[in-house]
């Protein structure tokens, strides 16, 4: 059901909690492929009816929006006053702000702007028992009470349901530019070292091997690099010179400059992170340090190749995240091969999560990596916030 008011949300949750019904919370469902095959639930509640902008105090650089608002809508509304919130999510026309923050992944511009979490200055949630609870406020600095927002962000809707979120906003950068260059594996480590020490820091930097159709429409599987800059005209000019010389030193001869359509290139790269081939692919996200990103990406790719799976790789040079999609033309063979490959990947990278893939392919194995050291506290938090296990049961790591 789609809830259209906070009261309806409260009443539904409270009733389900009392009657022992299990509830699935849905935003834009762009991450339905993340985590375990969706658990069976008695009721699903879609928040997409809660989609109003509650306030945009443009002179204060703050805003407040209901959780079911789409990320793209939020930023379109803010853009009328020359502002935005850097929430880097795939499929942002569909993804909701509540779902995005509940998933809470830090995006590729986090080294540049900070994490989406760092822009949340307040929130209201509805707990499983129907209690409405606020934290933070509408000011940009606040240490009154615990950082409750931080607890809900990234909790996959297993502790509470966001009703609205307050953000601090930023002025929209004056210009955007993407630079794309072919980057064969042999030159990659040097190029990455150059990029990491460039004076003008790119807002995002990816190396892509595969994902061709998703990223730039090309079908070629050779590696390429995408640098994405945001800032003033002057800064971008300097960045372009720097980037060309950095890449040149690493032996990369030519770079293509994209000005119109730069942000679309960036968006497509994000979308690729959860791209899925029906029934015969699984996409992983693996966290780690930027300093080791290249070698980890190669190791993961090689592992998939050893299992004779077709592999697309995309990694975030600035932050160290690696996305790997393992696939195979034949669905049956795929499920055989992926089972052993999956175990190996989890072994290689304890901070791993499946982010896309059909339920059938995911059904039989643990979709998250190793449980974190704080798992006991996390379980206790779940028990204290949602004692009857009403919200998104089994959705999260460690069976939370």
């Amino acid at each position: 059901m789609i809830v259209k008011s906070i009261d309806a949300l409260r009443e539904t949750l409270e009733r389900c909690d009392r009657e022992g019904l299990k509830v699935l919370i849905e935003g834009g469902k762009t991450l339905a492929g993340m985590g375990p095959a969706l658990p069976r639930a008695d009721v699903s509640i879609a928040t997409t009816g809660l989609n109003k902008m509650l306030a945009h105090e443009s002179a204060d650089l703050t805003c407040s929006a209901q959780s079911g608002m789409r990320v793209a809508h939020l930023n379109e509304a803010l853009a009328k006053h020359g502002q935005f919130v850097p929430i880097d999510v795939p499929l942002r026309k569909k993804a909701t702000i509540g779902g995005s923050l509940a998933a809470g992944w830090p995006g590729p511009r986090r080294h540049f702007y900070g994490r989406a979490r760092d822009f949340v200055i307040g929130s209201q949630v509805c707990l499983a028992d129907g209690t409405l609870a606020s934290a933070g406020g509408m000011v940009v600095k606040n240490v009154s009470g615990y950082n409750m927002d931080k607890l809900y962000i990234g909790s996959f809707g297993t502790l509470a349901v966001f009703t609205h979120l307050n953000f601090k906003t930023l002025p929209i950068p004056k210009k955007r530019r993407a630079l794309i260059a072919p980057l064969p594996e042999a030159t990659r480590p040097r190029a990455i070292a150059q990029i990491a020490s460039m004076a003008v820091v790119p807002a995002a930097a990816f190396c892509v091997e595969g994902f061709g159709k998703n990223v730039d429409g090309s079908d070629d599987i050779d590696g390429r690099v995408l640098l994405y800059f945001e800032g003033t005209e002057e800064l971008l000019e300097r960045a372009t010179l720097d980037a060309r010389s950095a890449l040149g030193k690493a032996g990369v001869p030519e770079t293509t400059i994209i000005d119109t359509g730069a942000s679309e290139s960036f968006d497509r790269t994000l979308d690729a992170c959860i791209a899925n081939k029906r029934g015969r692919s699984i996409t992983y996200r693996l966290f780690g340090l930027p300093g080791t990103v290249e070698e980890r990406a190669v190791r993961l790719r090689d592992a998939c190749n050893r299992h004779e799976l077709f592999t697309d790789v995309l990694f975030d040079v600035m932050n160290g995240d690696v996305f790997v999609r393992a696939s195979e033309r034949d669905a049956t063979r795929f499920s055989e091969k992926i089972a052993t490959c999956h175990a190996e990947l989890r072994e290689l990278e304890p901070r791993c999560a499946i982010v896309a893939g059909d339920s059938a392919a995911r059904a039989s194995f643990e979709p998250w990596g190793a449980v974190p050291p704080g798992i006991e506290k996390m379980r206790a938090l779940k028990a204290r916030f949602d004692p009857h296990g009403t919200l998104n049961p089994g959705r999260f790591i460690g069976g939370i």
């Binding site: 009154s144 931080k150 962000i153 704080g374 996390m378």
Partner: protein, 459 residues
């Protein structure tokens, strides 16, 4: 029994029990608690854990303490207990330059970290004005801010991983990159009520290519406030945007010779950092805005020495209040930045009728006010008047859509005022977190929560 066991576990040097030694730990920079039962100075995580277990066995609460510069009674023993001082755990353990991060012990002094990594071209961004003395552990405890948090964010945005000792004396690691709940984010700002931080990985930033500092003076605070909104409205987020008023300027100038005009109604100190070209752009935009708002003086610091002098005045401002009155009571409210004029008026309205002199030096860009109410501790009438005025200021900030603490925290002093911004349901929800981490209220009891919130207290 308690003291004996602590000495056996940590050694004589690491345990203080003499009343004259303990007395020092009954205070923070603002308030006084009761005498602690003992003070320990552990040298390692293992020793912290051992001491927590002993305190538990003896039924004594545990109070982590940094430099004691806190301004809300957060580190004082409210009902006795064992104080954990981190004076001996004060090192940088590891610098990972490639990944721009450092692992530090909680007792490390904030400024020492930036000094340590300066040669590598990096710095640690959160810079409370107390940074020469306050510790990273205390900064994590209070989620400290500072002048440069306008563009870099507060402590919580810079803590990547924590090692904590929990209420049972067990060691837990948390990381921002763990899949699971963000325990790191909740621990920062929890004022020692959820766990004791024994080490932290923090983020380092690259030093900017150019730093510019400008000073703008105004004949009236409203014009200065409007200029703050104007600068930010023009799409520029400076790295710092600070204001000082006519009460503070002469006192600061006399103490620091920073070069502030002493006859202005308000001075803005504006800093921007980045690339040369960008800074030229910022300079022309900012100067246009402040002139539109009738700035009487506009000048750029021409050298690093001049820049440092301008900042030394601002960062030392609290120390200069001694020239005005023997004591000051500092408030820490935040309002939406467009409401600064009304908030400053509210400060004047709260103080003038009572004959209290109020100075203002604050983080204007964040809307974070620090009214300094001058008084003499020896005069009970003045004490009462200052408390009353402080309360009125809190109320005004809340009415303007703001909050009761921007960076100093709630601690012991402000816990009852939390009810002004949060409902019982809001507070009871926060208290659920407390019940998970510290069901028996062994960690820094009597802090943050108003009396009567949470089931643990009812039991």
């Amino acid at each position: 029994m308690l003291q004996q066991r602590l000495i056996e576990a940590l050694g004589t040097d690491a345990v203080k029990t003499a009343p004259e030694d303990l007395a020092v730990y009954a205070f923070d920079a603002y308030s006084q608690g009761v005498m602690p039962a003992a003070v320990v100075l552990p040298a390692s995580t293992r020793e912290v854990a051992a001491a927590v277990k002993i305190a538990n066995d003896c039924g004594e609460p545990v109070i982590p303490r940094g430099a004691g510069t806190g301004l809300c009674g957060g580190a004082i023993p409210a009902r006795g207990g064992v104080i954990f001082s981190f004076a001996r755990m004060n090192r940088v353990l590891e610098v990972d330059a490639r990944n721009r991060r450092a692992r530090v012990q909680p007792g490390l002094i904030n400024l020492d970290l930036s000094k340590h990594v300066a040669k590598a071209g990096m710095f640690y961004a959160p810079d409370p004005s107390s940074q020469k003395v306050s510790t990273i552990g205390g900064n994590i405890g209070t989620n400290a801010g500072g002048p440069h948090c306008l563009s870099y964010g507060t402590t919580v945005n810079h803590v990547l991983e924590l090692e904590i000792v929990d209420e049972n004396g067990d060691v837990i690691l948390t990381s921002l990159d763990d899949i699971g709940y963000d325990l790191t984010g909740v621990l920062v700002g929890s004022e020692g009520t959820l766990g004791i931080v024994t080490s932290a990985w923090v983020r380092l930033l690259r030093q900017p290519e150019t730093v510019r500092v400008w000073l703008a003076a105004f004949d009236d605070v409203h014009a200065a406030s409007a200029a703050v909104t104007g600068i930010i409205g023009a799409g520029i987020i400076p790295t710092a945007l600070e204001m000082m008023d006519q009460v503070m300027l002469p006192a600061i100038e006399a103490a620091f010779h920073a070069g502030y005009p002493t006859d202005a109604a308000a001075v803005l100190l504006i800093e921007s950092a980045g690339f040369e070209d960008e800074m030229n752009l910022h300079e022309s935009e900012i100067s246009r805005v402040v002139k539109e708002h009738h700035a009487t003086t506009w000048r750029a610091a021409k050298s690093e020495a001049e820049r440092d002098a301008l900042w030394a005045g601002r960062k030392g401002a609290l120390g200069a209040t001694g020239r005005i009155a023997p004591n000051y009571y500092i408030q820490d409210v935040v309002v939406p930045r467009t409401k600064l004029p009304q908030a400053l008026q509210a400060v004047a309205d709260a103080c003038e009728p009572q004959g209290i002199i109020a100075g203002n030096v604050f983080h204007a860009g964040d809307g974070n006010l620090h009214p300094l109410l001058m008084y003499d501790r020896g005069d009970p009438k003045q004490v009462a008047a200052v408390i009353e005025a402080g309360n009125q200021i809190l109320g005004a900030a809340v009415d303007l859509g703001g909050t009761i603490s921007g960076e100093h925290g709630i601690g012991y002093e402000k816990r009852d005022t939390l009810r002004r911004i949060f409902s019982t349901d809001d507070l009871a929800t926060m208290s659920r977190v407390r019940e998970v981490f510290d069901p028996k209220r062994r960690l820094n009891p009597e802090k943050i929560f108003p009396a009567g919130i949470g089931c643990a207290e009812v039991q």
